[in-house]
């Protein structure tokens, strides 16, 4: 992966903002399309009038990001505003190649090119470079992740393996959520609204300072009601509050410093099936999960005129998660150092070092769910080295590099890649890549015991056992991509992939054993976590975006995914293959229209189609969202958003005991005031 072209967390120096492949597109599409007559109107304005025009900040990295040899989709602040979505998963569902399904009011199942699940296994998510991947359950708790959507500069989604840059567990994709510099968010913003499911929300931000030193503080609170339950068991309400700050200082032309932090608290209604060693064996329990977290990050970047760059980032992140059947408190300390020396002839080198230490404390609240030892510290230490060679300057580039990593669960691993990009003209790019990536064990696979009442007869249980016998899952990925500008402001992009997974997680049954402790005596069927399954996935994403005419932009995407898994000869796992294949929706279609109407109205529509998730007993569905927005006065905007409009409710994914939860047709009205 071309390291210097893809933002690795926060890089704010404009020249290096990293990135950005399609970003340039999205960012400039409106400007390009409207060039035809707007400048003439602007020319006729007086200096005073020019000074009063409210602008959309579209300027982004100047690098020819269009050439980035990876399957990247970038969602900009403008896309976010006009999507009408008010959660991060709600935004991600518009991106091709990501499978995003809502389980209930607060829970989501998200996958990248397959492997969809409540914890998005094998996918990294970073907010300004801070990893929110938990090494407890190898995934992301989507119900804890949030930020002020108005402060997001862009969301970059890299589908496919990204282990060379991002390290372990970036097997299927990387999601980078990048917030704006506080220089861009000076002023006051308040938005407030509510509706039938999003019952109420309040967001505010205040920013100030100068170009050299600027800051902002923000806060948000929301409450969401339950989704549709056929048995009227409305357990899934969701309340959350979050606050945070960011300050950016640019003491001179070379250096920039950023300090930022967040604190949040979440209360989410849950329903669990909790087993016990005493009769009745298992009970359905409802209650609230409590999650909270605090983090603070310090980043320093130095960029000099000869093109060299240096970046150091450190952060501390604390999470406290209390579900109905366990609690974990985790402290993460992370330091990351990245160097891009000045280009030397045809070579552009990059290298980096990283260290993360993450002590975790487990609090057992239910006898049947345990991690032993309760307290464990996870450590990862990594280095990476990359060279980009201009085989033919400005036309043909070869990038290769590798990550070398040591982690406390599985020891040493390496994750190399090689990428070739050919840019026959500035209007098109063809690229291909071969990458190796690994998913390393987590506490689940290392020291976990999850016992579940088997349900057939009293005192009979099955137990998932992570005993350290699981080795890293490996992926060898082949990718091919093509991008082309089709006309002013329009483009087409195609990405194809073929992934070979080696040693995916399986559950291998062992002979039952009788346990007398804890009493009463009971039989346990151990299911050991092993690497008994191999898989091949193939597919691709096709996406286009056009300005059909002035003030009307239309985008469409189609994603295809075919997954074929099989047991290894020594595996007796009877469920994983069916689960992997059954939980993978094959087709996804998203069509979006952004329309500017007279009298400052905006009408934005989204059409979404997802094929069945057979393993979850979820039929395919088609639905749509509409946003109607209008600027009422300077700085005051209202929007009316309707979501899932084509049916009263529809199913997207399972994950709770009991019947599937229907996702409701919902509406909300939002008022935004900014100054």
């Amino acid at each position: 992966m071309v390291q210097h072209k893809i933002a690795r967390g926060t890089k704010r120096c404009p020249r290096h903002t990293g990135v950005l492949a399609l970003l340039v597109f999205f960012a400039t599409a409106p400007a390009r399309a409207q060039n035809a007559d707007t400048p003439i109107q602007l020319k006729q304005l007086s200096l005073e009038e020019l000074s009063q025009i409210q602008i959309t900040s579209t300027r982004k990295g100047e690098t020819p990001a269009f050439q980035a040899p990876a399957a990247i989709t970038v969602m900009t602040a403008a896309d976010i505003r006009r999507s009408g979505a008010n959660s991060i998963p709600g935004l991600l569902r518009l991106i091709p190649g990501l499978e995003v399904a809502q389980i209930d009011s607060s829970k989501w199942a998200i996958g990248s090119r397959g492997f969809q699940g409540k914890l998005s296994r094998g996918m990294l998510v970073l907010i300004d470079g801070r990893s929110v991947y938990t090494p407890l359950f190898r995934g992301v708790y989507w119900d804890m992740q949030d930020t002020l959507l108005e402060d997001i500069d862009r969301i970059e989604v890299i589908r496919g393996p990204g282990g060379t840059i991002w390290g372990s567990n970036a097997v299927n994709g990387v999601i980078n959520i990048i917030t704006k510099s506080s220089r861009q968010t000076r002023g006051m913003l308040v938005s407030v609204g509510g509706g039938n499911v999003d019952q109420g929300f309040l967001n505010w931000r205040y920013g100030g300072g100068s170009d050299e030193f600027s800051y902002r503080i923000y806060g948000k609170a929301k409450t969401r009601g339950p989704e549709q339950h056929s048995n009227n068991d409305n357990f899934d309400d969701w309340r959350a509050g979050q606050t945070g700050f960011r300050a950016d200082w640019k003491p001179n032309f070379r250096d920039s410093l950023t300090i930022q932090g967040d604190a949040y608290g979440v209360e989410a209604g849950q329903k669990f099936r909790i087993s016990s060693y005493t009769p009745p064996g298992a009970q359905l329990v409802e209650g609230n999960g409590f999650f909270s977290g605090q983090n603070v990050m310090l980043a320093w970047q130095r960029a000099t005129n000869d093109g060299s760059k240096l970046q150091l980032r450190t952060y501390y992140d604390r999470t406290d998660r209390q579900d109905l059947n366990y609690r974990e408190v985790r402290h993460t300390f992370d330091a990351d150092f990245l160097v891009n020396p000045a280009p030397a002839g045809r070579h552009e080198f990059a290298f980096g070092l990283g260290a993360r230490v993450s002590p975790s404390r487990y609090f057992q609240t239910v006898a049947t769910v345990d991690f032993l030892p309760h307290n464990q510290t996870y450590g990862v230490f990594s280095g990476f080295l990359q060279d980009q060679i201009a085989l033919v300057p400005d036309k043909l580039h070869l990038t290769f590099g590798t990550k070398l990593e040591y982690n406390s669960f599985s020891g040493f691993n390496y994750q190399p890649d090689a990428r070739l990009s050919w840019t026959p003209s500035t209007r098109q790019t063809i690229w291909m890549a071969v990458t190796r990536a690994v998913r390393t064990p987590s506490r689940i696979e290392d020291n976990f015991a999850f016992t579940s009442f088997a349900g057939q007869a009293a005192y009979q249980y099955v137990r998932l056992v992570g005993d350290g016998g699981f080795k890293p899952e490996q992926l060898l990925g082949y990718e091919l991509g093509y991008r082309k500008y089709v006309s002013k402001g329009g483009f087409v992009t195609v990405s194809l992939f073929h992934n070979r997974y080696d040693g995916l997680l399986s559950v291998e049954a062992r002979p039952p054993v009788v346990e007398t402790s804890p009493a009463p005596a009971h039989t346990v069927l151990p299911l050991l976590l092993r690497n008994g399954v191999d898989a091949i996935s193939s597919g691709g994403e096709l996406r286009g975006l056009w300005d059909l005419r002035e003030g009307w932009r239309v985008g469409a995407s189609y994603s295809l995914l075919v997954l074929d898994a099989k047991n290894r000869p020594d595996s007796i796992d009877a469920s994983t293959v069916g689960q992997l294949e059954g939980d993978t929706p094959r087709h996804k279609v998203v069509i979006q229209s952004f329309l500017d109407l007279p009298h400052k109205f905006e009408l934005d529509t989204t059409y979404r189609q997802m094929s069945a998730v057979v393993g979850q007993r979820v039929p395919g569905y088609v639905t749509g969202d509409i946003r109607l927005g209008r600027t009422i006065a300077n700085g005051l905007e209202f929007s009316l958003v309707g979501r899932n409009l084509l049916q009263p409710s529809h199913f997207e994914y399972g994950g709770n005991p009991g019947p599937l939860v229907g996702i409701k047709r919902s509406f909300f009205l939002k008022l935004t005031w900014s100054r």
């Binding site: 020249r15 900040s57 998932l464 069916g578 069509i591 395919g620």
Partner: protein, 198 residues
């Protein structure tokens, strides 16, 4: 916590997309989305938001017009009036479109993208992505207007800095630098400036 021992049941085949379309009136929705809209899209240019680079380009043109150019500039009628962008071009196409057909002191205005200042440049623009402003401005002769972005540009010797303030483009002027280089900025321009260093 995700329980991995799930019981699965066979399910009927997926709903075919076409059937789904019919059943959910999605066709209607889609056609509304795609084809009912064009009628309204006429004449909406005035209501849309304008990009930063477009407004900055318009300002740049105004600056050029509100500088009282010396006779030497007026006399060189045979050559175009050249605005040079040093380093990477933040305007992309916005500036070229805007300057089409424009003249200054009777000379047609053109945009040149250059690595360093050269003698043909009457105006030098240095984008915010240029890290070392003093180096970018090195060798610029008197009589040349220098425009950049962010207030640091003024501290580093520039004359006019475009700044984004509260979602609006404004500009600051370093009159000392302009006077030193014998560039005469009209009082009309100074009146609109956010700040003027004298």
């Amino acid at each position: 916590m995700e329980c991995t021992t799930r019981h699965r049941l066979a399910l009927d085949a997926e709903i075919s997309p076409l059937r789904a379309l019919g059943r959910h009136c999605a066709g209607l929705f889609l056609s509304l989305l795609l084809w009912c809209a064009p009628a309204w899209t006429q004449n909406v240019g005035a209501t849309r938001q304008v990009s930063e680079e477009e407004v900055k380009a318009a300002f740049l043109l105004n600056f050029v017009k509100f500088v009282e150019w010396p006779d030497s500039v007026r006399e060189a009628k045979a050559t175009p009036f050249s605005i040079c962008i040093v380093g990477s071009d933040p305007f992309r196409e916005a500036l070229d479109g805007l300057l089409q057909g424009e003249t200054v002191a009777g000379r047609p205005v053109i945009v040149e993208r250059v690595r360093r200042w050269q003698s043909s440049c009457q105006v030098v623009f240095v984008g915010a992505s240029e890290l070392d402003v003093p180096q970018a401005l090195g060798g610029v002769q008197p009589g040349v207007l220098t425009v950049g972005e962010e207030t640091r540009f003024l501290r580093e010797g520039g004359m006019i800095a475009l700044v984004v303030d509260n979602h609006r483009v404004r500009f600051d002027v370093n009159l000392r630098a302009a006077n030193k280089a014998s560039v005469r900025i009209s009082s009309r321009l100074l009146a609109v400036a956010r700040a003027v260093e004298r």
